[in-house]
């Protein structure tokens, strides 16, 4: 089959590899219909996530058709059209039983790597480095899905593939961001980053009762999407001082909840940005926490900071004094998709949210490298490049 493989920092190549096989009883093989790029892939490509190996197949946000199931699979059958959660949860461990699937105790075969780096190992993720299990990713014609009964969700009749795809990762991540933001009626929520996850976080914040959502980015096309499709008020941080703007837009209170949908490769115009870039370049810190600092400074006293932008390692100049003295609640994590996906498919079916607008480019697997370059450089108003192996 064809598969998009990582071959080195910022280098991808479409290769011919063998087809995946059932390796464990709970596995299924999915024929991939759509597989999306994700901002978190850029951290892998840019070399900020160690334990990538040359030849690894990347990609984790996908859907397709069940073509084979292992003997332990009970709920799925051949021919089912499914959207698959990008993070693997066994469904049986204490964490999965408590709906915290991204903390799964059993789905990561290489626990020792994260145990050294983080103290404990978290769940496996498709196509997301060997620290997160080393599972072959979805930018391929076929993919093996372990714990298939837990991670595959049948797409309801009447939904197109384009509508359902982002229920794999971007929508549950955005939704979990809003869920962790502890939104109460009348709340004002600020969302940093208007990529796929940020846009979904805006819409989810409204679903969960936010009165106003203010979105922050610098790319006009994304701010337009946030405004027109997701109905947010917008701030371009290239034009205005975000701290001043947020304070004045909220009567001096600051947003009740602040969502970081950017993560470790944040961009900004302040002096701290160049300081962080320099430290990251010489590997004195792995992550640039510009947005994280901003959320803490902007958040109202006693408010909530919710982090779904991905961080990988160590950060510097963390405003702990502000966080502590303002008594902020900080919640964060990789998304627990299995908890949210059925509900999100319902929202899409009812028409509450239609994430199709984020699918700006549909390309073939052969164009994988170019697709990522375009996505990375945010050219041609790109929000999400989606690969369709059938093209």
């Amino acid at each position: 089959m064809k598969a998009l493989c990582y071959v080195g920092t910022n280098k991808l190549n479409t290769e011919r590899v063998k087809d995946p096989e059932i390796l464990n009883p709970g596995d299924a093989i999915i024929k991939v219909s759509l597989s999306s790029v994700c901002g978190s892939d850029l951290h892998l490509l840019d070399g900020y996530v160690p334990s990538m190996r040359e030849g690894d197949i990347i990609g984790h946000e996908f859907m397709g058709e069940v073509v084979e199931v292992g003997p332990g699979v009970k709920k799925l059958k051949k021919g089912d059209r499914v959207v698959v959660c990008s993070i693997l949860g066994c469904g049986d461990c204490w964490f999965c039983q408590h709906d915290e699937y991204s903390l799964c105790d059993n789905s990561n075969p290489h626990e020792e790597i994260l145990e050294k780096a983080y103290g404990h190992a978290t769940a496996g993720i498709f196509g997301y480095s060997h620290a997160f299990g080393g599972y072959a990713g979805s930018h391929a014609e076929y993919i093996r899905v372990p714990y298939a009964d837990k991670g595959c969700f049948k797409v309801p009749e009447g939904l197109t593939d384009d509508q359902a795809l982002f229920c794999s990762d971007a929508f549950p991540t955005g939704y979990m961001a809003a869920d962790m933001a502890n939104i109460k009626p009348g709340d004002v929520v600020a969302v940093w980053g208007c990529g796929g996850v940020g846009l979904m976080a805006i819409q989810s914040a409204y679903l969960l009762g936010a009165e106003r959502v203010i979105a922050i980015d610098r790319l006009p096309e994304r701010l337009n999407m946030a405004k027109n499709m997701a109905k947010a008020e917008v701030l371009n941080y290239a034009e205005v001082d975000v701290q001043v703007a947020l304070k004045e837009m909220t009567g001096g209170r600051g947003p009740d909840s602040c969502i970081d949908a950017v993560g470790m490769e944040a961009h900004s115009y302040g002096a701290d940005y160049y300081y962080d870039r320099a430290k990251q370049a010489v590997r004195l810190q792995t992550d640039r926490p510009t947005v994280l600092r901003e959320t803490i400074m902007a958040c109202r006293k006693g408010g909530n900071v919710s982090i779904v932008g991905v961080y990988g390692g160590l950060i510097d100049k963390f405003p702990m004094g502000a966080a502590m003295n303002k008594a902020l609640t900080m919640r964060m994590g990789q998304m627990h998709g299995q908890r949210y996906i059925p509900k999100l498919l319902e929202h899409v079916q009812k028409g509450d949210v239609d994430p199709t607008y984020m699918l700006t480019h549909k390309w073939s697997l052969e164009d994988g490298h170019e697709g990522y370059q375009m996505f990375k450089k945010k050219k041609d108003n790109c929000v999400r490049v989606v690969f369709a192996p059938s093209i």
Partner: protein
């Protein structure tokens, strides 16, 4: 009032195993220090002579030299073993491994799977075979393969004490090259989280002092093997399978990256 001494405050001790391994086989040190220094020096001299010029005599000299060096470095001498001679005053230093894992299954279920030791190769990566040697189910023959080292080890071990669903205490015997003792305990985890499995293993490495030194360096690796095996046990008990990516496709099939 009890006097509190430094380092005695903690409720955790790594080496709380009260059963010492029976030191046998090449783990045993039977050459004294002075004799070992002389052995290495003499062996080195013989090796030097042996390599100076090629002849049958020189090759024999070289081989003798090598065995002297080995005897000196390891502190173990096969000839001493045969003739029952021992010039050493102490043994090497044991290595202790302690690891635990919580398994979301009732204690009885966890214990009974483990206690049927023939099951252990199902999840212990390097153990290829565990076979009972007596009808009472106390003595077992173990076989281990470490493909990376190209080595096979085997040993016999005996369950010295056991309490059903709580504890297994074991020790190797019978001239084993891997002298070890260990305790496996099974406790209820708090809050209905299942079973805490605790393992404490103490071993003397093969080849005496040198083996001991190597074992110390290798200890993190051995700890991680023990830990990995315990986690694989958890995976198997909780989900009925052990996660793997062995056999999945990658771009590495085509090229030598």
């Amino acid at each position: 009032m009890t006097e509190i001494k430094a380092n005695k405050l903690s409720d955790f001790t790594k080496d709380d195993l009260h059963l010492e391994p029976e030191i046998t086989g090449s783990s045993h040190i039977n050459v004294g220090t002075t004799e070992r220094i002389v052995s290495v020096a003499a062996g080195a001299a013989l090796l030097y002579l042996g390599f100076k010029k090629f002849s049958i005599t020189n090759v024999l000299l070289g081989i003798t030299g090598a065995s002297f060096v080995h005897r000196g470095l390891t502190g173990h001498c096969g000839v001493n073993d045969m003739i029952g001679r021992n010039t050493a005053s102490r043994e090497g230093v044991p290595v202790v491994v302690k690891k635990s894992v919580t398994i979301g299954k009732p204690r009885e279920e966890v214990y009974s799977y483990w206690r049927k030791l023939e099951n252990l190769p199902n999840f212990m990566k390097h153990i290829t075979h565990v076979e009972p040697l007596d009808a009472g189910g106390k003595r077992y023959h173990w076989q281990m393969e470490v493909p990376k080292l190209g080595n096979k080890f085997d040993w016999e071990a005996e369950i010295v004490e056991e309490t059903a669903n709580e504890r297994i205490l074991y020790r190797t015997y019978n001239g084993s090259d891997v002298s070890q003792s260990g305790e496996i305990t099974f406790r209820d985890a708090p809050g209905g989280r299942g079973t805490e499995l605790h393992a404490t293993i103490k071993y003397y490495a093969p080849e005496g002092y040198v083996g001991g030194g190597v074992a110390k360096m290798l200890n993190p690796a051995i700890e991680s093997v023990v830990h990995e095996d315990m986690r694989r046990f958890k995976h198997l008990m909780e989900t009925g399978e052990i996660p793997t990516i062995e056999g999945q496709p990658s771009g590495r099939e085509n090229k030598n990256y």
